[in-house]
């Protein structure tokens, strides 16, 4: 094994890692938001909406992310929707993550006792206030560990978007190994970077969750 190429490649690896972090940050925010809407819609929306959400969840959960990504990036242009790689990756990741987190957030909403809603309504809060201020924070607290795991899984899965030429960590690794002919060493270094990223992300989410949602988040 030889690592003489490493100092010169540090900049590329850091840039790739930054793009991976950007991807997962956007996906986390958009995906969580979408899954809160989806979970609420699945419980309180009209029948058609409920059915549509259920079908969406099943389709995404039973097909590979790579195929979803190819479908969005290569397939949608024939419907006149052309996305650049970065946008296609963000869209695919968000839609993929939401399908998993809709179920997670839904389980959290179910875990909040009905008495909480009844008490809030009897205090004169409007239904929307009840959802945002009373039910949602308690639900998020219950499901936070599951949500954290899903975000980390999504970050690892994001390696796949290199296949549509998004210049993230794996893409940079592909370019580096083509230049240095040190394939194994390159992927070994990048794998370690991913490992550090996933451990750091988990720690960040747990401490951030504790701060935002109070004690009891593990």
């Amino acid at each position: 094994m030889a690592f003489a190429w490493l100092p010169g490649a540090a900049g590329d690896i850091a840039r790739g890692a930054a793009t991976t972090i950007l991807l997962i940050a956007v996906t986390t925010l958009a995906g969580t938001f979408l899954s809160i809407l989806g979970a609420a819609g699945r419980r309180n929306g009209p029948v058609l909406l409920k059915r549509a959400i259920a079908i969406y969840v099943e389709i995404v959960r039973n097909t590979p992310f790579l195929v979803q990504l190819f479908f969005i990036f290569f397939g949608l242009p024939s419907l006149g929707i052309r996305l650049d790689p970065m946008l296609a990756a963000m869209l695919a990741m968000t839609l993929n993550m939401a399908a998993y987190t809709i179920e997670i957030v839904g389980a959290g909403l179910d875990a909040v006792p009905v008495g909480q809603t009844e008490a809030a309504l009897s205090l004169g809060l409007r239904p929307r206030q009840v959802f945002i201020k009373i039910v949602l924070p308690q639900a998020l607290k219950v499901i936070f560990p599951a949500l954290t795991s899903q975000i980390v899984i999504m970050m690892l899965e994001s390696a796949v978007v290199s296949q549509i030429a998004v210049r993230e960590l794996t893409y940079e690794a592909d370019m580096l190994q083509a230049r240095t002919f040190r394939s194994f060493e390159t992927y070994l270094v990048v794998t370690i970077v991913y490992l550090v990223l996933s451990m750091a992300l988990r720690r960040l989410l747990v401490s951030g969750g504790r701060r935002a949602l109070g004690a009891g988040v593990s």
């Binding site: 389709i59 024939s78 190994q177 490992l195 996933s198």
Partner: protein
């Protein structure tokens, strides 16, 4: 450009899907065998053995599968082994599956009351007999739903082996797409075939879960 009718596309995709099925089965069986070994280390009384197994599991759950496949594909030739995409795919997915299966089954072992071990010991069984006759059958039985759930994840994961050059469903669909320029139809069909393989298993896992809850 070669002319492909709709049925040509479907036929070629279904032929390629055989390899997806075969790879999934090989990885699931291989992963089950290696996963059992990891499980033995994970639940052993020796602290170092448990730590080693935890590290192994954390390593595979904390890195992208795509990187694991690349390391397999480029790493094994460095050890002097001639390796083809099929070998790298099976080995990569086997180790990946073993980490997840060991962790699933470990949760089953942990869920059993300590009294089960004590009862086994009081009957004069030694450690391996306890595992074989009392602990593992119960642990497997209560983790059947997540095990089937992981099989679904594994089938979907085989798509990644297209990137290291294994000719399964996704790689074939890329080739067909390059010949027909009909990505919407081709990738739509690929998604449909994966769905047809995964959805029944998902439903089965769900029914197992319901049965376990009652």
């Amino acid at each position: 450009m070669i002319e492909f009718t709709f049925w040509d596309i479907v036929r070629n995709l279904l032929l390629a899907a055989r390899w997806t099925v075969l790879l999934s089965l090989a990885a699931f069986i291989g992963g089950g065998i290696v996963g059992m070994i990891v499980l033995f280390f994970r639940i052993a009384k020796n602290t170092w053995s448990r730590r080693l197994a935890s590290g192994y599991i954390a390593l595979f759950q904390g890195t992208p599968l795509l990187m694991q496949l690349f390391l397999m594909f480029f790493g094994l030739p460095m050890l002097g082994l001639r390796i083809e995409p099929w070998t790298a795919a099976v080995l990569g997915l086997t180790f990946f599956a073993s980490a997840y299966l060991a962790e699933i089954w470990r949760s089953g072992v942990d869920a059993l009351p300590a009294g089960q071990w004590d009862a086994g010991a009081s009957l004069g069984l030694h450690y391996l007999q306890e595992l074989r006759l009392i602990i593992l059958p119960q642990a497997f039985s209560i983790t059947r739903a997540p095990t089937v759930g992981f099989l679904v994840q594994l089938i979907k994961s085989t798509a990644l082996t297209s990137i290291i050059g294994f000719e399964e469903l996704v790689r074939t669909s890329n080739a067909i797409n390059n010949a027909t320029f009909e990505p919407f139809k081709v990738y739509g069909l690929v998604a449909l075939i994966f769905f047809a393989m995964c959805f029944p298993l998902t439903q089965y896992a769900r029914s197992l879960e319901k049965r376990a809850a009652h």
